[in-house]
Amino acid sequence: MILLFEQLLNGLQYGVTLFLLAAGLTLIFGIMGVINLAHGALYMVGAFAASWVAIQTGSFWGGLLSGLAASAIAGVAVELGVMRRLYARDHLDQVLATFALILIFNQSTVLIFGRQPLFTSVPDVFSGSVEILPGLPYPTYRLFVIAVGLAVALGLYLLINKTRVGMLVRAGATNRQMVRALGVNIQGLYTAVFALGALLAGLAGVMASPIVSVQVGMGDEIILATFVVVVIGGVGSVKGAFVAGIVLGMFDTMLRAFLPGLLQQVMPGPEAQALGVGVSSMGIYLMMALVLLVRPRGLFAARG
């Protein structure tokens, strides 16, 4: 029982990370119609900037701010320099250009930081564990990550549903020609949304940096799962990204945690592990296929 609960928490933590990435990606895709493969690179930028500053200054919080700033600035630069020219073009051009951006970001990071990963520590306040159930101490930092993710979800909900900017974002996701026709400064909105998406990706990177090893290509691994979240949740829907992110994070963690163990009952250890890991990494794609069969536009598609 404790094991199940702990794995659910692990899944929740992975889920909020996926949500932070998917929220930005789904907004950018929904509003601008751009497939941004380089979203994972912004995650990496956030993680590297935060880790580097944290190592230099010894302050996690300084690193947090620098990571957010660096990813937002990178986002604005990418929007102004590259994305602007792509809105009118078809998806193939966008995929090519953003794929090139991945390579450019990765190689630039190699040039600046080298091929070896950066290692940072969690801040002292969060270095221990809290006993959340009798017999279950859980790492404080992971609880912090979950809390931050949920707080961002609430903040985004308020921003999108209760503010004028949010209204424009919703309108843009539903019908961007109409928003333009009504005389809204769509260029400014695009830049703002892109920067927000980059900021959230950067935040995900910063949060993950003390847990995973911060290395070149770290964004490429997680971006595939993020795309699955966007597709399942429905393009353009932050609510969809939240629900799909959490569900997928938990589903994936549960499969990884329990499938190899179950398989080990019937076959030798390494083979059970290989098969278990293989099937669990297919799990989220199977889930995506099932969701698309029932709801071809995803669970909460913004566009009618």
């Binding site: 094991l3 990963p117 006993e131 945690a257 592990q273």
Partner: protein, 380 residues
């Protein structure tokens, strides 16, 4: 700028003749990714060992990125285009499993400073394949023996799901003899939250884990963060608690138990000379067993090159390496029938130094003059 370039190229041109007479040694090793420092340790240890041997040499170093395909491509280039006949350097068993047969087929000699997968130690042993470090299994048999000696009867054993990981758990189980729950992790995995939950659920008397390089750092940190450190004791083999890992984990590592074939506090002349040479050359980098193994490899190769007069006569070089005429930094060293080492293993404790930082202290010898279980299958 132009002048700078000219000066640089002049310097480079001047530097070449000093090495031009030396035998080219191909070093294929892992210099990128979370385990990139392992390759640096091997590269630098090898150079110091060769320097100490007094042989004339030239190292051709390339990164394999822990990828067998890259490793084979690099080996192909070294063997066929650069005419290199002596290869070494591989860190990981998956790379070595692909590259070593390629090198042997080409008639070259491969001397391993680290990886020694079970697949190459038994029936597939080869006269031109030497291992200076240890056979993978025996590295972890020592940990199994240590866990048994400490009186534990139930264990959770964790290792990445590739050849060396399987060898690790097999080796541990062989000497431990108690009840073992096996958990295989991903080779690129760095978040072990799921595994921590499984360990907590199993509540074993002891945890054994094999995670080299960056994975080992992540594992120990997360073991501490999840509150398991101090609750369930851990026994480690040398790759999971090297100096770099201990430096990254910090005081939290104090109290762990480890097993090793060499430690920096060994009281013999060769080891002391190596520690002094390393400290002079790399004052800020901890000296690990990877560098020590490579240093021994350098001593062995250097002595053999001098005896055989270079790599002109491969059979003479092979015989010279086989005679193993060098003084190992680990004390007693001999090649077994499969040209893997026969050596002693030691129990170590991780204690706090004056500043509270973890330091490895040798406690006692737990296995004496052991080779590996695959040697019996080797017919040369």
């Amino acid at each position: 700028m132009k002048r700078l370039l000219t000066t640089a190229s002049l310097l480079a041109a001047m530097a070449v003749p000093a090495f031009a007479d030396g035998t080219k040694i191909g070093v294929i090793t892992t210099l990128s990714g979370p385990a990139g420092y392992l390759g640096e340790q091997i590269r630098d240890g090898l150079a110091l060992g060769l320097d100490a041997s007094g042989a004339a040499y030239e190292l051709v170093v390339e990164d394999d990125g822990r990828d067998p395909n890259t490793g084979v491509q690099v080996a192909d280039r070294m063997l066929n285009e650069e005419g290199i006949k002596l290869l070494t350097g591989i860190v990981f068993s998956n790379v070595s499993g692909a590259v070593v047969p390629e090198a042997l087929d080409a008639g070259a000699i491969y001397v391993s400073p680290n990886a020694a997968p079970s697949g190459l130690a038994g029936a597939k042993c080869h006269p031109n394949y030497f291992v200076v470090s240890w056979q993978n299994d025996s590295l972890h048999e020592a940990s199994g023996a240590a866990a048994k000696k400490l009186g534990y009867t139930t264990a959770v054993a964790l290792a990445p799901n590739y050849q060396a990981g399987k060898d690790a758990i097999e080796g541990f189980k062989r000497e431990f003899g108690g009840e073992v729950t096996e958990i295989y992790t991903g080779v690129e995995q760095s978040d072990f939250a799921g595994e921590m939950a499984q360990i907590r659920d199993k509540a074993p008397q002891v945890v054994f884990q094999f995670h080299p390089g960056g994975q080992g750092i992540a594992f120990l940190k997360q073991y501490q963060q999840s509150g398991l450190l101090g609750t369930i004791p851990m026994v480690l083999s040398e790759p999971s608690y090297d100096g770099v890992i201990l430096k990254a984990v910090g005081p939290a590592a104090v109290g762990l138990t480890g097993t090793t074939h060499w430690n920096a506090d060994f009281d013999n002349e060769a080891s002391k000379a190596m520690v002094a040479a390393w400290t002079a050359a790399h004052p800020d980098v901890p000296l690990t067993t990877y560098a020590q193994q490579a240093y021994d490899t350098g001593l062995l190769i250097g002595a053999a090159l001098q005896k055989a007069g270079g790599d002109g006569d491969i059979a003479a070089l092979q015989a010279a390496i086989k005679s193993a005429e060098f003084t190992s930094t680990r004390g007693s060293f001999a090649f077994g029938p499969n040209q893997h080492p026969v050596q002693d293993w030691y129990l170590t404790a991780i204690e706090a130094d004056a500043a509270g930082n973890p330091v490895i202290v040798t406690k006692e010898k737990i296995r004496e003059a052991v080779g590996d279980v695959y040697a019996a299958d080797c017919k040369m």
